[in-house]
Amino acid sequence: MRRASWALAAAGLLVLTACAGPGPEANAGGAPKELTVWIMGDSSAHFEQLVKPFADRSGIGVDTVAIPWDSVDQKFTTAVASGNGPDVLQIGLSKLRTFADSGALLELDERTLKDHPGLAAANFLDGVAGFATTDGGDPVSVPWVSDTRVLFYRTDILADRGLTEPPATWDEVRAHAKVLAGRGKGRYGFHIPQWDNALPVIMTWTQGGRIVDAAGAIDFDTPEFRKAVDIYTGLYADGSVPADPDFDQVQGFVSGVTPMLVSGPYLGGAIAAAAPELDGKWAVAPIPGGAARTSLLAGSNLAVWRASDNRDGALRLLDHLSQPQTQLTWYALDGQLPVTKAALGDPKLTSDPLTAVYAAQLADANPLPPVPNWDGETGKALLDTLNSIVLTGANRDTALRDLYAATSGTSAG
């Protein structure tokens, strides 16, 4: 036994000397340096394909590092602490403010972008172009991929109940949902994910309201927001929405338990993969609304690490990634929607009925306000308030008053 453990240890030491990591010599001086790029999730294999033409053309190697979605905070924090970061990194919009505040990202002012007309704000969707996140500062990122929310509905189930058109206003949503919930026990009309802190905001926008006041601070104390709360709580009160926090959207839609819901393009892909037999039995429609049909603009941007030793190369890579052709190729490879106006108007996208709806919706979409830690604080307070009203029966006025007190004044950029 003891001999075995010695042998194991010795073998281990041998193996480790053989497999010692890349080491700092890998990037020794010389002309075109390598770019290290952090990409979220399992898209890294596809990303390598995407940047191959760029690498071939410019001679700058691109080293893609895949970062698990759940761990981006840890990676970023340790990088900031030590100063060792990548050259380019993908940042989800909800995290942008936090990362920008750290000061670790390169400011992309007019001077820096002078040689890169492809990165000019005008090329990108209005909602996210020049998304400045620091106080009166310059943007620290350029948009890369977009995401939005639209209405998904089961055409077959709705038709069964005599509903031939998707709902166009929230009142219609409530009415449709009531009819659909009337199909029987365990059947609902709509799904509200209990973790979705964007939906109440979307509901407010479609009433024509905003949640950021003129001074740039969060303000929920508006009549439009209260209308949104009424819609949200009304759907629960009608019994049209399941009250389980772990309700699975895909299974709900595919099984028909919740034939209407608000979600993003990823759901379209998930439904197609999970239930190809449902082809033709479901469709998407623009977000319902009254005064406006404004939906959510989500997605990711790309930023340059301030301490990068290859800023020029990084900017050239960003330029390449913003080209309409690259954006369309990325959509074909990885299923993430483009964010440049040129790409979104391309017939390749507009000819498909699903993407046509997504692209049209993106033209009327807002990002969530860039407060520090939206998910952990403001968004969480919003969700907790609403969920406490609908799930635990808290008093609506008290809960809302507490929400206003807790969130008003939070600076949004």
Partner: protein
Amino acid sequence: MRIVSPRGLTVTIGVVLSAGALLTAFPFLWMIFGSVKPHSEAVGHPPRILPEEPTLRYFAQLFGELDFARYLINTVVVVLISMAGVVLMAMAGYGFAKFRFRGRGLMFFLVLATMMVPVQVTMIPTYLVLNGMKLTDTLVGIALPGLVSGFGVFLFRQFMVTVPTEMIEAARIDGAAEARIFWRIVLPLSRPVMAVQIILTFIGAWNSFLWPLIIAGDERLYTLSVGVSLLNRQIATSPSLQMAGSTLMVVPVLIVFVLFQRHIVRGFTLSGLR
């Protein structure tokens, strides 16, 4: 008064244990079946345990499109390096158990104290230390923070206290050096706890997630845990692929455990510790 025959009792116990084993291992079986279910079955309702059209497509994807072969190798290397830690912990446990020396109480408390810290706190200081030692982005750097655990030292100490001191004293009187006493007498007597700690170290190193994630600058050094975590997309996950990744993580450990078990038992009956 014996009501039940000893053999009868054994059989009853066997039955009870089997039922318990089935319940305990059921989620694991669900995972294995899930790894070969096509996507439509994985999200199908009502849920079925057995797959109707099993497919190995997801395992192929792990090794083909995704880099799991490399993650597997990295994980094995980290485990091997960690085995050195077992010896270090045994030494420390012995020192605390069988010697009186100045500062023993304080040092042992510090050992225990390391168990009382949530691991997130250690993240940044550890990274900075490894960065200073130029060990970031190496497999040694990944294995180092978890090489020794307070738990292991505590475990060894508890068991080594029961090692008969007379044997050690006798060897000392015979003129043996301390190191020799440790290797030749104490360690062999500690076979059961050594086996336990080797298994624990193996599991810990195999499943290690936090350090490989943070310390690796490149996915070339990622371990299996990080690889499986990569499969978790924001919302639209592929359950079968995740199950396949998880199965890949569990099955080798189980095989090692089963093989190792017989070794322990055999070693024991031969060791003469009675």
